[in-house]
Amino acid sequence: MSGQTEQDLAKILRQSAESSERLLKENAELRARLERAESAAGKAPQDYVELESRFHALEGENREFANRYVEIEEENNNLANLYVASYQLHSTLDFREVLQIITEIAINLIGAECFAIYLVDDKSRTLAAVASEGLDKDKLPKMALGQGIIGKVAETGDNHFGPEDQMNAPVNPNEPFICIPLKIKDRIIGVIALYSFLKQKTRLASVDYELFTLLAGHAATALFSSKLYSESERKLSTIQGFLELMTS
């Protein structure tokens, strides 16, 4: 073998050794990457399970928030109704207007169809209707305190609620489905008797009971103060007329 050939062969062997060394290194690197990939792949299902459970937890929270939102929305609407009712009841000192507002609240907020407002006459201890809807006021009987549902409610001051399945039973003027006392502290000045409801009103909602409570107090105060005001106005004009007569 000539020296030239030996040199060439040595070069090839060197190159081959270098190449092998490079390949071995790459091989080691690839093996390491493969091991890392395999380990990551092994972990993936576990991560997936964790993510899925977190997703379900968030979904549950979301549902809870949505339900809470609906509840708050309902509460908000109820408060708006109560606010409007109390605002309107105290917006006037005219007795007829107060009666009209109570009527509007009963129709528009409660959904009542037939009802009557009775006031107590302290002297005769009887109740007489001063306003009604769906019933002829003049045909409604006078009630003695303690007599029938209306008289009992006016005497005891306790609410009367009939069984819900009789909500739209035929109207009997002596037997209202609901009867609420109009109270100023412990003094009962009258009652609101509800006999029947609009067709679409099939059950009483929680806000209806709150409206009944509100009516029991606020309507009573509004009726009482407007009555006092109109009486004092009448007395004032009588006195003024008398004074004018005396001084003329």
């Binding site: 609407n77 708006a80 528009n108």
Partner: protein
Amino acid sequence: MNVAQLTALVVEDSPTMRQLIVFALSRIKNLKVIEADDGVDGLKKLSSGKFDILITDINMPIMDGLKLVSMVRNGDTHKGIPIVIITTEGAQEDRQRALALGANAYITKPIQAPQVISKVKELLKIA
């Protein structure tokens, strides 16, 4: 971003009902609410401004809701305005007449704020 202001006209003789409707509508963003006591007052207000929706009761003194719907649909201004009428369940004839005269939708008493809001939003095509 500036969102165009919309205006609603509420025609209702009962102050209680009017306040309830205004209360409900106040929860719709960019909706200004103007109130009228009866049909005549409603027509007067319609002619003096630009309105995007009309909500009216049927039973009112001086001019009722049916007459108002008819006059709006046959008038020059606002003839295409969406109209919502408010009726009681028993007043089915009135409701049919109002719809025949050109009302777009109806709400029955006792009214519920969500019902008013969704009906108005639907007709105004707002989310």
